[in-house]
Symmetry: C3
């Protein structure tokens, strides 16, 4: 057990549960909807990753503490929103905290997902391990957004999945070079988090096409 | 083969196929869409459960009678709607029948899903078995609603997934206490069905936050 | 290695990547969104098929050339749209090309999916193999549409999944009758493609209910 990685996973779980609960509150869901979306967001990415790995039952079913932590975090968001009588993301400070925790979750889960692939014996398949990292990082948010009938974050936000890919790749290369795994993890996470926050702050954009005519697909 | 459980599974399959077909008719889908959504709703939850269990191919592919029954039920809904020249859920009696059959499907599939986990050798993992029950109960409806771009029932209806959790938990505990499996099943199903119907009748609500300000997630 | 099937799979990959990228461009997504949706559309159906087969990791993770081809195809769509300053499907020729390539992808993937089931040892289970073919053919498009919050093509288009079912079934029967696999593949693909194109050209419709009253599902 690596305590740094374990602590990081707890932080990532809290961060994503908070983002799921916040969206549920915004969508006016009831208490169960808030807890459900918090848990799905926090644990959905890892569950999809484990299905791709053929690692069944998915790890979350043997680590009830993550589910409990996600439920608790979501419930605290519910209480906070109730106390405030409304939105939980209304002030500038809230918005910064939300984006910071979301970026933290992304960076942490990208590294953990890559590591899960290496631990399960696919260390030779760099492509698979890195995609597992991205999937773990963005998967929970995709399920969260689809269940709320929003176009997923990953397709709308600046440099989101790309940040996860960069962190996963850096972590993979460092471990491959026999760098200490805790150090590799921290560097990989820091890369994703800082890239994501910088992209948001400076509004870095990937190129986009401004369509003037309506496309026709029938 | 336990004939009571087998009969229950057939009833649950019909109930959920009907709910999928009814939504497809409401969404003005064509005959294939109606059959497709009926089958997906009836068998989607069990398929997701089997993927989580690593039980591949999923059981539905070895039990073609369930698929056939779901197709037949959906087709009868199509004929009924055609004969009536429109909605299949327009009267108060229809609405009651629809909600009764949906509650029946939920209760039956919650128990069957929990039992599948115990049969496949995970009886010691209460958390996993109970979540499998809930997944089997609500999974098909989630896929149905997402494919119709609705926010899933489970996030909108009063005491829906919670009713499935209660029935799964009661069934698990009774089996654990060595109560006869048929009796345990019937008690678990009855708990979910009655809780769901009571919640609907009395409009029991889980707490919810009435937000006055627009939350901001960017 | 069967070169005809291999070439067909490459063509199917390109065709579906193009359809995913075209939808992403229509939805004004950025470059990453375009590539992501192209890859998901081209490889999503096969990935779901492999999960149903319990074939993990899914084949796409050992055949990076398909992912690379999907990325390249999507990127070329991006360049084309940029050069034109807008839609990629605006003219009648484009629309024909789009529908032809989509039909090609459908026919090719339906046959390949059926064959994957037979190769993995489920040749005796005709139902499973044929459903695997349909899943491979329509799965990527379903994920594409759900991520864009559209009701999936498969529920809206005339004779879409049905065409995949027909091609899969013909292929399965021919192989079962010991017809040469390349010939069987080409006949199965041709059946799906021509059925799909004819259905579109002549606007063949499956029956549908024109509802006059609003159905009520609560």
């Amino acid at each position: 057990m690596n305590y740094v990685l374990y602590a990081a996973e707890l932080i990532g779980t809290i961060a994503f549960a908070v983002s799921g609960a916040a969206l549920a509150i915004q969508k006016r869901l009831d208490l169960f909807g808030i807890l459900f979306l918090g848990v799905i967001t926090a644990l959905g990415g890892g569950t999809v990753r484990d299905l791709l790995l053929g690692h069944t039952p998915p790890r979350m079913f043997y680590n009830v503490q993550y589910v409990a932590l996600a439920i608790l975090s979501s419930f605290l968001m519910f209480l906070l929103a109730k106390k405030r009588g409304g939105g939980v993301l209304s002030s500038g400070v809230d918005s910064f905290m939300f984006n910071l925790s979301d970026a933290l979750g992304l960076g942490i889960f990208a590294v953990i997902g890559t590591q899960a692939g290496m631990t399960d014996g696919y260390g030779d398949n760099a492509f698979f391990c890195i995609i597992l990292g991205m999937t773990t990082g963005v998967g929970g948010g995709i399920i969260r957004d689809i269940m709320c009938t929003d176009i997923p974050f990953v397709l709308r936000k600046h440099i989101y999945a790309v940040a996860a890919l960069v962190g996963s790749t850096i972590f993979y290369i460092l471990v491959y070079l026999n760098i200490d795994i805790t150090l590799s993890s921290l560097i990989g996470m820091a890369a994703t988090v800082s890239l994501r926050l910088l992209a948001r702050h400076y509004r870095w954009n990937l190129p986009r096409i401004e369509s003037t005519e309506e496309a026709k697909v029938d």
